[in-house]
Amino acid sequence: MSGRSLRRHITSGLMTGLVAVLSFTAVLALVLILGDLIAKGASSLNWDFFTKNPVPAGQSGGGVANAIVGTGIIVGLAALIGLPIGIGTGLYLAEYGSGRLGWIVRFVADVLNGTPSIVIGIFAWTWLVRPMGGYSALAGSVALAALMIPMIARTTEEMVRLVPHSLREAALALGYPRWRTSLRVVARTALAGIVTGCLVGVARIAGETAPLLFTALGNLNFSTSVTQPMQTLPHQIYEYASGPFAEWHRLAWASALVLMSLVLLLGVTARWAIRQRHGSAR
């Protein structure tokens, strides 16, 4: 092997090693963050944490029951608004999306997917908070729904497109009208994929804070009224992390651990299920 060739092979080996190291660095970041969450959050998880409301600043004890319930309500309502629109848009894109409108909708969905969530918050503030004269959980839900629709639309489209044409043709040949073919045969076949896509979408918005800052606002007390301000876990973490008290920091870590577990549970189940089904092992 000549010197030049040797040098080329050494370079190749070194660069291979380098990209491997870079990959493991990225994984290391994840391990560090999850490790810190468990190390600093797990010890504060107890019955009180899940069942009690926050206590006034400076006192110890208390929990985040109001934030857990609030996250459930706001995210649930957002899903109720966002999922039908998102799935409908996705079906439209898959079934009729070859024309100009399809192109526009697809492009807009991708653009909105990249829009900062805080700007969506301004949107909800203008259309709901200002006319209604006050912050409300409903405004927060609408903001989260608006964030969710483009995501759901694109995954639904992808999943529906994976359904083989032969299935559709068979249904049409049996005399099924198009709409029933689309709903009963095509969408049903893609159902598992659509559902996992929705789970990923819900997981993504469950962790959002920015659009809730001036819509749902946050609330120190327990509240289930959607026309009133409502506390959520992400917002609670933000408030507690920015505050000066060690007690708050402890609760912030515990809340973050709970939020992370919730998001991971939704996201990991969904991703795992999608892999099982479509085996996109590349």
Binding site: L22, L37, L93, R168, P177, A241
Partner: protein
């Protein structure tokens, strides 16, 4: 394509072969073919009432998104109008921000947004490209899925959790182990000058970098996977080493898509709010030093929007939102077009967007 999906029963009926088909004028009003002025349109819509209804419903739902985009833009412009009229273009390059006196210039926020995002790219691009290249070209097969999955998980961590981690883990770490040697070696340059308080451009940039790695990595990986195997084979067949094949044949082939992936990450970084707000220091000031606090547009909206002291202040916040929105839309549109050029018609990266 449209013809294939046309309701088969109707086609049969229309052609007169299925005379026993129950004729129900209420459900098949168009059963008797009339001269069709726009045959393409007609077949696309289907002739069945259910089909029409179905299509109309889906179209209405699909119109929500374009409507959302238009109202969003309109509302930002309307809300920002008083500030636009008052300050004009200099809004983006003057740096006084005095809500009490009613003078607003957004230059420091725009600078901070760009600086933190570029710093993030500087760190994230090598990492993400490393992940993508390693996973598509070098890693053992059994390692591919786990690593891709773990890197993707980084995208699942909520922004506010990154912020929390930044405040209590990253900043103390920077203070004890990173900044002292940095200052000792490079303290004389303006880039690393000044006192380090913790909350800084550096902390914001690093957090942002970790947050955008999964997006850039996922799209880059899909782009590299879309490069035909013949590219690699040709390079290897000419005697290239494995790295040379990757660097001279695979990467250049996917260049447009890779640039798209990076721009996508940039779009993410520009609009990221919570984590940055929590660690960047929120100081309305332009400083070249990465150790100094800074401000970003998203952070300013998060902090000041609901506490605007006057109508003009609120209008200025709307204008900041408008600038942020327009910049991210342009950046994302560029990314999208670049990625589409490589993987036309597929949904590569759409989930990461």
């Amino acid at each position: 394509m449209p013809d294939r999906y046309r309701s088969v029963t109707e086609a049969a009926y229309v052609s007169g072969r299925m005379t026993t088909l129950p004729i129900n004028p209420a459900t098949t009003p168009d059963a008797v073919p009339a001269p069709v002025p726009e045959p393409h349109w007609q077949t696309l819509r289907g002739r069945n009432v259910g089909d029409r209804l179905y299509r109309a419903t889906l179209t209405a739902l699909a119109l929500v998104l374009p409507l959302l985009l238009v109202t969003l833009l309109a509302e930002l412009v309307v809300g920002a109008w008083p500030a636009i009229r008052r300050f004009g273009l200099p809004f983006v390059w003057t740096s006084v921000w005095d809500p009490v006196a009613g003078v607003f210039g957004a230059a420091p926020m725009i600078f901070g947004t760009l600086a933190s995002s570029l710093l993030a790219l500087l760190i994230a691009v090598p990492l993400a490209l490393g992940v993508a290249i390693y996973l598509t070209e070098f890693s053992p097969k059994w390692l591919r899925q786990p690593i891709a999955f773990l890197v993707e998980l980084l995208a699942a961590i909520p922004s506010v959790v990154y912020g929390l981690w930044g405040i209590f883990v990253l900043i103390p770490f920077l203070r004890s182990y990173v900044v002292p040697p940095l200052r000792a070696a490079l303290g004389w340059t303006p880039l690393f000058g000044g006192v380090f308080y913790g909350n800084s451009l550096l902390a914001g940039g690093i957090i942002l970098a970790i947050m955008i790695v999964p997006y850039i990595a996922a799209v880059s990986r899909e782009v590299l996977l879309a490069v035909p195997a013949s590219q690699r084979e040709a390079a290897l067949g000419m005697g290239a080493t494995r790295w040379e094949a990757v660097w001279t044949a695979v990467v250049p082939y996917g260049r447009a898509g890779l640039i798209g992936a990076v721009i996508l990450g940039l779009g993410r970084a520009l609009g990221e709010t919570m984590a940055v707000t929590m660690v960047i220091g929120n100081r309305h000031d332009i400083s070249l030093s990465v150790l100094q606090p800074a401000y970003t547009m998203a952070a300013a909206i998060a902090n000041e929007f609901s506490e605007a002291v006057s109508d003009l202040h609120l209008a200025a916040m709307f204008e900041v939102g408008l600038v942020l929105f327009v910049v991210t839309v342009i950046v994302n549109a560029c990314a999208r077009l670049l990625i589409w050029r490589v993987a036309r018609g597929t949904a590569v990266g759409s989930r990461a967007l």
